[in-house]
Amino acid sequence: MRGETGQGMGDEAELVRKLAAGDRAAFEAVYRKHNAAMVRFATGIVKSRATAEEVTQDAWVSVLKSIGGFEGRSSLAGWMFTIVLNKARTRAGRDGRAVSFDGAGEDDNLAAAFDGRGRWKDMPELWEEITAERIIAGRSVLQHVNAAIETLPPAQRSVLVLRGQQGLDAAEVCAMLGITEGNMRVLLHRARLAVRGALDALA
């Protein structure tokens, strides 16, 4: 099964060839790898999850229709997420929603954690119980993580999905979202702090 979802350059070229040839198994593998993340990403841009699912579905059709024109100048994932972004942006525009990824007005959740001299008010916990396999309150820890990501404001959510989950290059993420690398790092950190807060509540 090595390379089925396109790790590395050679595998990615092979995957693109299969997608262009209409290989259903190859498409299923790509869909499985990216669809949930695409919906999570699009939900930050359009007004509802249902709309995000529609937009993502529409994006997949575009991906397959235009895969022949993919030239490998970006990663395949970056190219596909750009298609999702464009579809979501268009839809948001039609619904009168402004889309910006500068993160203005998005803050981190640690402001109250320190005293006046910048020391911890309460000692952070040792997270001995927080592991991927654990089920807490009926959901796996990983499901709790994705639920927390879905509550993030758009800029943080986009950066965490693209960079922290999909592993896109920093430069690719910045170009897509129209932000600087410094801005991206701040957003990534804030997003992690928010997810950390959700996990800490389970600990």
Binding site: K65, L110, R119, W120, P124, L126, I130, G164, Q165, R196
Partner: protein, 83 residues
Amino acid sequence: MLSCKEVAQRASAMIDGELGAWDTLQMRMHLAMCKGCERFIGQVRVTRDLTKAAGEAEDLHDVDDLRISAILSQLHDGKQQGG
């Protein structure tokens, strides 16, 4: 000497290996003496790893089969119409 607050602000940069030599040294000095920050950095590292794992663990549901079929059928329609 960095404060705990400043250490927390640099936590992601540290675990992502993006700190310069001077900042790294400052962080190490603080962490050697501060259990709270050591734990916090550990939490941020776990958060990073679980976030990545959560993006990889998603199973295909039955509804996805229908969606995949819908996508592929639209594709064929497009081709028949010469699009």
